[in-house]
């Protein structure tokens, strides 16, 4: 079993994907789910994280097409070639195309999209075909393949040799290849915290934000990424995932409508689309803060109202994302509007109508409709502890 002699891999662990043209064989929501599950096959076995993008410039573009479809490899009608994908790289690199003259299903009739897509994404990540009939990367379609353990040992060995072993302990990728965090270079470096103990009872976060279908937890210069449906958590230095960011993050929030996250450090912020940090950092004064505001403790976007709330010591501001102006009548005292919260907020994240306020190792679940705290939990439970 060999993968490319010229090792062909993405030079990052957070990879974006986008679905361009859909098939008419399945509802779009079903295609979305099957594609996400097919990517999860590789995410669960590796240090990779896949973030859905709505742009046409994602690393992995998924398209359904027939015959001639814009690359040098026309499809051939039903049966024969089912799909193909390109190895990691710019432009068409990573893209996966599915022959829409096939009948795509979620079950055993026709061709199961989940099985074929999981195979094609292997190519998108740099794997080649395997001669082992048990391998997911075997060239021919097998409807009998168990959808539980799709990957063979070789598949797992290869993906880990490409992207670093599954993070039983955090690894980082540098010009020297994959290194565990106890690498002397790493320990002696500016990074004081070799490895965050994510289950310590007093774990707290500097910032928490949704980003795509994952939740990002920032602490010092470290990052944990937890996929909403998955149990495994990716972790490592922030700039391992976002090379442009060399500092810690004080606050972060996600505006779903724009598929954009905002990461704030002192008086500047970066915007992140997919897994790409866009351009240079900008001043937080862009939001309309008065000059004396030079640091934000926490930020959270409330999808229901279109407002982003910025928390600073014992006050907070409300920013109207639709009109992109600060709401009048602010700042207000946090304790006046959020009963039960009369302390500085470390981080905040909005999920399903609740704001979760992270205060040190505690998390307060705030019902935004009832305007009251309805529960408390430990911060480390968010990392599966």
């Amino acid at each position: 079993y060999s993968h490319n002699n010229r090792v062909n891999r993405w030079n990052k662990n957070v990879i974006t994907y986008s679905i361009g043209r859909y098939t008419s064989d399945l509802p779009h929501s079903m295609v979305d789910s099957l594609i996400e599950s097919a990517l999860s096959v590789w995410a669960r076995a590796s240090t990779l994280t896949f973030v859905r993008s709505r742009t046409q410039r994602a690393d992995i573009m998924v398209e359904f097409a027939t015959f001639e479809h814009g690359d040098a490899y026309p499809f051939d009608g039903s049966k024969g070639t089912l799909a193909h994908a390109f190895g990691p790289g710019e432009g068409i690199g990573g893209d996966a195309h599915f022959d829409d003259d096939e009948t795509w299903t979620a079950g055993s009739k026709g061709f199961n999209l989940y099985l074929v897509a999981a195979h094609e994404f292997g190519h998108s990540l740099g794997l080649r075909h395997s001669q082992n009939p048990e391998s997911l990367m075997y060239p021919t379609y097998k409807s009998s393949r168990s959808s539980h353990n799709l990957l063979s040992k070789e598949d797992i060995a290869i993906i880990n040799s490409l992207y670093g072993p599954k993070n039983s302990q955090p690894y980082y990728y540098s010009r020297y290849g994959w290194n565990p965090l106890y690498n002397p270079w790493f320990l002696g470096s500016h990074f004081p915290l070799m490895m965050q103990n994510k289950c310590s009872a007093d774990l707290s976060f500097d910032a928490v934000s949704t980003l795509g279908d994952a939740t990002f937890f920032f602490k010092d210069k470290y990052l944990w990424i937890k996929h909403n449906q998955q149990y495994d958590i990716k972790e490592g230095p922030i700039n391992n995932f976002m090379p442009k960011i060399e500092s810690k993050i004080d606050a972060a929030f996600w505006v779903p409508r724009r598929s954009t996250a905002y990461l704030i450090h002192e008086s500047i912020y970066w915007t992140v689309k997919g897994s790409i940090v866009k351009g240079k950092p900008k001043p937080i004064s862009n939001f309309g803060f008065p000059p004396w505001v030079q640091e934000i403790d926490a930020a959270v976007h409330i999808v229901k109202t279109g407002r982003t709330l910025f928390f600073i010591h014992d006050i907070y501001y409300s920013y109207n994302e639709n009109r992109r102006v600060m709401d009048a009548g602010y700042p207000q005292y946090i304790s006046d509007d959020f009963q039960g919260l009369n302390t500085t907020i470390d981080a905040a994240v909005y999920k399903d109508g609740f704001i979760y306020f992270f205060v040190g190792p505690q998390v307060y679940k705030y019902d935004y409709t009832q305007k009251q705290v309805v529960g408390t939990e430990k911060a480390n439970t968010w990392l599966g502890c």
Binding site: G80, T81, L82, A85, D99, F111, H129, Q131, Y141
Partner: protein, 90 residues
């Protein structure tokens, strides 16, 4: 220069093969095993060595008997729906 193949072996390799089988095999080997495109089907006999060696490459990849001939097992694999990525190229 391609080694000459005794006439009877050529016949043996291609006997019983329908034009359809040859077409399927040629397309398959071009797509997945880098069989050079400029070999028109009709002149297959003159280019048999590379055709045969490509058939053997494919048979070896799939763990079949590497006879170099288009036996039923080989044709069956060639007819199986599959991924469009080459088995031998990046």
């Amino acid at each position: 220069a391609p080694t000459s193949i005794p006439e009877e072996e050529v016949t043996a390799l291609l006997t019983g093969q329908t034009q359809e089988d040859l077409k399927l095999a040629t397309e398959y080997l071009r797509h997945y095993y880098n069989l050079k495109k400029e070999q028109p089907l009709a002149r297959i006999k003159r280019n048999l060595p590379s055709f045969t060696s490509k058939v053997k490459d494919m048979q070896s990849f799939f763990g079949l008997n590497t006879t170099g001939s288009l036996d039923s097992e080989t044709l069956e694999v060639m007819s199986t729906p599959r991924c469009g990525v080459s088995d031998v190229e990046d």
